[in-house]
Structures are given as structure tokens and as C-alpha cells.
């Protein structure tokens, strides 16, 4: 690995990142927190000739709350997210996901953009962002593209990021009072947990307890963090009661068995997924209730 890195740059603003990427293309690798990349470099899995550090650029670290949307700068750290007022008060499932990652040392460095671009199947931030139907804003010197996060992540550690592109920010809609988000994760250890299984559930419920809309995303339940479209289709338009819950749990068990067939974790995860789902769903419903109470109170 020695001698292989020839040039390093500590970028000072977004334009200078884009210029460097344009100049070096495939040769360059972006490093933000470095918590994944430095390990990969030492293991000899990647050996970029050029490194561009973007961790000191404040303009892409900002968490911006607009009237209807939230914009998460790609170099916002998990500590930034975990401590942010909006996530603590209005979307606690995301703060919870951030808090569940690594240790304080890791959370101080690891960024949401890194979590997305490395696209580990077990990346903790992906399920809640997928369940929020988040969009990624990708910038190159020539153009800006906006893609759904679910399309951006194509496989295990694979994304649609081009070699001259920077993931600038992540954007999603704020929730209405009849919507809620929940996140639940099963980790091996609390301090340094790498998710072994996580689920995020977004729900929109009407006053007759009918599920108007639902988005479910999983981590470590396949080759990538992903939306569970089949389960969503199954739930939509149904009434929430214990029998629906039992049906969904059975559905999840079956699809987990199919997807993980032949893997040693299958027998554990087919049961675990049901409990994790229940927790995430309960949390989403609590979240929705909180939001309704808050809304009423503010009239």
C-alpha cells in the first residue's frame, strides 16, 4: 500500500472537489470520515493514487430544515445527526439510527454520505433514509443529477456514483401528522454494533386505521440495503389489527427464508425479522401519534 497514494488534497470548497474529480476521474477517491476507507486501504482492497479529503468543508455538512423538506449535507457526521434538534424532536427514528452506529469516536467521523456511497448491505443509515423515500443530489463539474436513493444503490458496495461525481446532499420530505417513521435494529454489541438486521418502517394511516401508504426498508437482509416492495404491496389498503400483523410477520419470514436460502444466518434471521418488524412498526405508530398530538396542541 505504501507509495501507492501519490497525491492528497484537503479540499476547501465544493468547486475544488469537482475540479479535482474532473481532473483525476477514476484515479481519485473521496475520503470523508475515513472510517471505512482507511481500513479498506490497509487491507489492500483499494489503492487510490489520489485522495480528496472533504471532511473539512462546512457547506456540505449542513443539515437544513426547509418548510417541507430536510436537506442533509453529505458530510454531516452521525454525531451531527444524533444531536440535531430536528431529528431529536421531529424524526427521532433517524436520530436513533445515527446513535446506534459504532462508538462516539466513529460517530464523530463517519458521515451519512460515506454510509451511502460505501453501500454496505448492513449500513445503518440506509433503511431509514430509504423508508423516507430520500433523494440523492449528485454533482459533477458538468451537471447535477437527482436520483431516488433506492435506485442509487445497486448492489453490495455498488452505486450509480460516477467517478467525477460528488454526493452533495440527501433530501426528503418532512412527515405530516398522519405519518410516522420507526427504526429497529438487532446488533451484536451495543458499542460497536455493525447491524446484523435492521428495519425501518414508514406508515401513513387514515382515521379508520387503514394503511394508506407504507414503505419498509431493510439492512443486512440481502445483498444490499433495500426497499421491501412486496411486503409494502401486501400491507397497503389493509386495516391495522393483530391478524394483519401476523400475516405480515409470516410474509416476512417466508421472504427471508427464500432470500437467505443456504446461508448460515437464515435460521436466525427468519425469526428475528418478525420481532424487529414489530418494533419498527410500533415505533412508527407511536411516532405518528406524537405528531398528531403535537399538531392538535398547536392549534
Amino acid at each position: 500500500m505504501r507509495d501507492l497514494v501519490q497525491n492528497v488534497y484537503q479540499a476547501k470548497d465544493t468547486d475544488s472537489i469537482l475540479n479535482l474529480l474532473d481532473q483525476y476521474q477514476d484515479e481519485a477517491k473521496i475520503v470523508a470520515g475515513g472510517t471505512d476507507l482507511i481500513i479498506q486501504m490497509r487491507e489492500g482492497n483499494v489503492s487510490p493514487p489520489v485522495l480528496i479529503d472533504i471532511s473539512s468543508i462546512l457547506e456540505i455538512r449542513e443539515i437544513k430544515e426547509e418548510k417541507n423538506t430536510i436537506e442533509l449535507g453529505s458530510t454531516a457526521t452521525f454525531t451531527d445527526i444524533e444531536k440535531h434538534v430536528f431529528f431529536n424532536h421531529s424524526l427521532s427514528a433517524i436520530a436513533k439510527a445515527a446513535r446506534s452506529i459504532g462508538s462516539p469516536q466513529i460517530r464523530n467521523r463517519a458521515t451519512v454520505g460515506g454510509n451511502i456511497c460505501n453501500a454496505s448491505p448492513a449500513a445503518d443509515m440506509l433503511p431509514p433514509l430509504l423508508a423516507m423515500d430520500a433523494m440523492v443530489v449528485l454533482k459533477s463539474k458538468q451537471q447535477t443529477r437527482v436520483l431516488p436513493l433506492s435506485e442509487f444503490i445497486t448492489g453490495k458496495e455498488e452505486t450509480l456514483l460516477k467517478s467525477n461525481e460528488l454526493l452533495e446532499k440527501i433530501r426528503f420530505q418532512k412527515l405530516n401528522p398522519n405519518e410516522g417513521l420507526g427504526f429497529s435494529k438487532l446488533g451484536v454489541r451495543n458499542a460497536l454494533a455493525i447491524a446484523r438486521l435492521s428495519l425501518a418502517v414508514y406508515v401513513e394511516w387514515d382515521e379508520n386505521d387503514m394503511c394508506q401508504n407504507v414503505r419498509i426498508a431493510s439492512g443486512a437482509l440481502g445483498i444490499k440495503a433495500q426497499r421491501e416492495w412486496d411486503v409494502e404491496r401486501f400491507m397497503k389498503g389493509k386495516c391495522l389489527n393483530n391478524s394483519l400483523f401476523a400475516e405480515v410477520a409470516a410474509f416476512l419470514e417466508e421472504s427471508t427464508m427464500k432470500r437467505l436460502a443456504g446461508r448460515s444466518t437464515m435460521n436466525f434471521k427468519r425469526y428475528a425479522v418478525q420481532g424487529v418488524f414489530k418494533q419498527a412498526l410500533d415505533e412508527a405508530l407511536e411516532d405518528m401519534e406524537r405528531r398528531m398530538i403535537y399538531e392538535k396542541g398547536s392549534f
Binding site: T35, G102, S103, Q105, R109
Partner: protein, 169 residues
């Protein structure tokens, strides 16, 4: 090789470094500040913890060039000008929170990062603050007690002295 300037423990160092040098190696090998330890080398153990702009980070997972322009603080910066130990260090000694001592520099810096921001932490805050530091000797209880004690000492110093700053040289 690259010429770079670092601010470590309030001192400026101008040194030649390899592009892919880790902050940990800069501190230990280039600057000879060997109080910072290397355990796992992959972000699991916290033995390599240092403060970067006041935040605790694993120096094995930061490249040295990323730390240019930042303020780095290592365990060597903690004792006071008169040569006495920092209250966190003193409390670790008094509470028996040190056995082999390998985890101690990292533990002390994690505790400092906590107490600098939160002078009256709960027991939960304390445990959370050292959750990225592994200790294979003490069983953690004594470490948590030492941090609690240090918080009290620092609070008392603060109220006793009024204007005199706690903290470091």
C-alpha cells in the same frame, strides 16, 4: 512525501510525511508522542483516541493529511503547568481505574471530551462516553467512578477559583 504543518498540543510541527500516513503514526513515530496507543488498528478499541478540534476520534482511522489545520490534543497535554496531574488522571489513580494502563490514555481523553462539554454528566452519559474504549482489565466500573469523581473535582475547582480556568496548559 509531502511537507505538512500540524498543531499538536498547542505546538506547531512542520514535518515531511507520506501521503497515506495515519494520524496515529504521525503522533507516535514522527512526533514521538508515545502516550497514544495502537490496539486494533481498525476503530474497535479506542486505545488510539485523541482529540481533534475538541472531538474524540480514533487516530488509527484518520489520515495525517486530514488533520492539517486542526487542533490535535494527546494525553501528553493533560498534566498541568506545575507538573501535577489533570483531575481526570488523578481520579483514575485514586479510584484504581488503571491496571495495565493500555486503555488509559484513550479512556482519559474520552472522559475529557465528555467533561469539557458536559460538566455534570449522568451515569449513563459517562458509560456512553467510554463505549468506544475497550478495557480488558478493570471491568469498567472503576473507570466510570473515576470519571464521576473527576467531574466533581472539576466542578469544585471551577466554583472555588471563579476566574481561573480548569483545563490544560
Amino acid at each position: 512525501m509531502r511537507k505538512a504543518v500540524f498543531n499538536v498540543n498547542n505546538k506547531e510541527y512542520t514535518v515531511e510525511i507520506e501521503e497515506d500516513l495515519r494520524l496515529l503514526d504521525l503522533i507516535r513515530n514522527t512526533l514521538n508522542l508515545t502516550g497514544t496507543k495502537e490496539g486494533c488498528g481498525e476503530g474497535e478499541c479506542g486505545a488510539c483516541s485523541v482529540l481533534m478540534d475538541g472531538e474524540v476520534v480514533n487516530s488509527c482511522l484518520v489520515l495525517a493529511f486530514q488533520a492539517e489545520g486542526k487542533k490535535i490534543e494527546t494525553i501528553e497535554n493533560l498534566d498541568r503547568e506545575d507538573g501535577t496531574l489533570h483531575p481526570i488522571q488523578q481520579a483514575f489513580l485514586e479510584e484504581g481505574a488503571i491496571q495495565c494502563g493500555f486503555c488509559t490514555p484513550g479512556m482519559v481523553l474520552s472522559a475529557k471530551a465528555l467533561l469539557d462539554k458536559n460538566p455534570a454528566p449522568s451515569k449513563h452519559d459517562i458509560r456512553e462516553s467510554i463505549s468506544g474504549n475497550l478495557c480488558r482489565c478493570t471491568g469498567y466500573n472503576k473507570i466510570a467512578e473515576a470519571i464521576e469523581k473527576a467531574a466533581e473535582t472539576l466542578e469544585k475547582e471551577e466554583s472555588d477559583s471563579g476566574t481561573a480556568r480548569r483545563g490544560t496548559k
